[in-house]
């Protein structure tokens, strides 16, 4: 398909529609998403049902939210960009921790459910 357009300069409204401006408590943040930048060498060691730790990882001086295996080397399976603003806020300024349960692995693509612990 060719696509119908991205988040560019279009759209009809402006300024008035601000639905769930996500004032969710950190404890209530739960969602399913795909891991971005998946590392095949790490994914190959994983199975459905595995629990990954969701933590802030420094990458070239910038904090990213990563999903790490619970092995001795704490390998980075991939990064999370959905609800990123909320995760950064909660991981940096609350006592809430998050984990990601692996729901599916398909050709190196990993779907997880992120929940507070």
């Amino acid at each position: 398909m060719s696509g119908s357009g991205g988040g560019g300069g279009g759209g009809s409204g402006g300024g008035g529609y601000s639905p769930t401006d996500s004032k969710k408590n950190c404890e209530d943040l739960t969602f399913e998403t795909m891991l971005n930048s998946p590392d095949p060498s790490v994914i190959n060691q994983m199975s459905i049902g595995d629990i990954l730790d969701v933590e802030i990882v420094a990458t070239q001086g910038v904090n990213v939210v990563g999903a790490l295996r619970r092995n001795t080397t704490r390998d980075l399976a991939g990064t999370i960009t959905d609800y990123l603003r909320e995760l950064l806020r909660c991981l940096q300024s609350s006592n809430v921790s998050y984990e990601a349960e692996v729901l599916s692995i398909n050709g190196g693509i990993v779907r997880v459910r992120v929940e507070s612990v």
Binding site: G3, G6, G8, G10, F31, S37, V65, Y83
Partner: protein, 396 residues
């Protein structure tokens, strides 16, 4: 290669998502594994700076940031809805960039200054475009990648085909690539026009597909030096690969081999019959949304509510006459409306394929539909796209 475009906060209610992307960051993230020496030039405000930097780093995108005056956010109720845009009056410091190859998106907060040899320009103004705003860009070769409504306005013709030809002439571009949603794409060059069919997918997430298309096209045409038609074919395949899982960056295999995709459908005129109740405000909203989406994605929509109108028993024959001329049915099943079910049964008997949408999975009530080959989806975007694709397939 450089990508110049917006980094914006994007939210969607159903299905729920909140991401920091925008055309520029999404496109750069898409090709960060295959583009050589890629840099994204974009802007961000203080409020979202940490989130934006994090998103770019998470996708491995080397980014040059300038300061923006305020946040810009795109808020979708569904991926098929027109977004509401916050921050339309935002401004930013000047963006100035130079490279051999540039993919430039129209931005809300600025008109970037770019010097390049090969330029792929995506206006990103589906509803407001009046002219091609590229006076701040110097280039030797230009390809315009635009959607159908932008092409019609820029080419000053209701016919997309004619408008694309007009735009090619007026802009002196070497190609105009018109994105036509589920229908496919139209590539217009001095040699003629080519249609590129869409690859059907089992899941569809429309937000950002245009950005991915432009990025993949720019890579294929600008970096790999493939002709415009082949570049558009590659772009269409990359979008199909991506929309099923939305993982970024996109793996190199998706750009070079498309073996796992369903073959593209041949674009042709297609009409989708929109069967659904329209007796409450919510039902009418959904019918309007689906109708608008079908039309915007390259198909004609026969909507009994709009094309026949509400009424008594007399509307039945007129509705069925419209159904008989349709290539597929999109059935909106929420509410278990008798008329919708009747129309689905009639379509089944007459071998018109049915794609149905229901908010929640239906077990017993959808048995006859499932048992006779109808598709059932709980995701509206997927249902709409697949209804168009069902109509594009040749009837057996």
């Amino acid at each position: 290669m450089i990508v110049v475009g917006g980094t914006y906060f994007e939210t969607c209610e159903r299905p729920g998502s909140r991401v920091m992307f925008g055309s520029g960051l999404r496109a750069a993230g898409a090709i960060s594994l295959v583009a050589q020496n890629l840099t994204l030039y974009t802007a961000v405000d203080d409020e979202f700076k940490m989130t934006a930097h994090s998103a770019a780093a998470a996708l491995g995108v080397n980014t040059f940031w300038v300061k923006r005056s305020e946040p810009i956010a795109f808020r979708y109720y569904t991926p098929l809805s027109s977004p509401s845009i916050d921050g339309r009056t935002a401004t930013c410091e000047e963006i100035s960039a130079t490279d051999e190859l540039a993919l430039v998106f129209g931005m809300i907060e600025t008109r970037p200054k770019v010097e390049c040899k090969k330029l792929v320009f995506d206006p990103q103004q589906p509803r407001e475009i009046q002219s091609l705003k590229i006076s701040s860009i110097t280039y030797e070769e230009l390809v315009i990648v635009a959607n159908a409504s932008e092409t019609r306005v820029l080419g000053k013709d209701e016919s997309v085909e004619q408008a694309a030809k007009n735009l090619l002439d007026s802009s002196q571009a070497i190609a105009v690539v018109t994105k036509c949603g589920a229908w496919g794409a139209l590539v217009t060059t001095k040699e003629g026009q080519h249609v590129i069919g869409a690859h059907p997918t089992n899941l569809v997430s429309p937000i950002g597909t245009g950005d991915i298309f432009a990025a993949a096209f720019a890579w294929a045409w600008g970096q790999e030096n493939k002709p415009a038609v082949e570049s558009a074919r590659i772009a269409s395949a990359v979008v199909a690969s991506w929309t099923q899982n939305r993982v970024l960056p996109i793996m190199e295999e998706a750009f070079r081999k498309q073996t796992s995709l369903q073959p593209p459908l041949k674009p042709r005129p297609v009409q989708v019959y929109l069967a659904g109740p329209y007796f409450t405000l919510g039902q009418q909203w959904l019918v309007d949304l689906a109708r608008s989406a079908i039309s915007g994605l390259g198909a004609k929509c026969f909507s009994p509510f709009h094309d026949v109108g509400p009424g008594g028993d007399e509307v039945a024959i007129a509705d069925l006459e419209g159904l008989a001329k349709s290539d597929s049915v999109l059935a909106l099943l929420d509410g278990n409306d008798g008329g919708t079910i009747f129309e689905a049964g009639w379509a089944t008997k007459n071998q018109i394929p049915i794609v149905a949408y229901a908010s929640n999975p239906l077990e017993e009530t959808a048995k006859m539909l499932r048992g006779t080959g109808a598709e059932l989806h709980t995701d509206l975007s997927t249902a709409v796209y697949r209804a168009i694709w069902a109509g594009l397939r040749e009837r057996s």
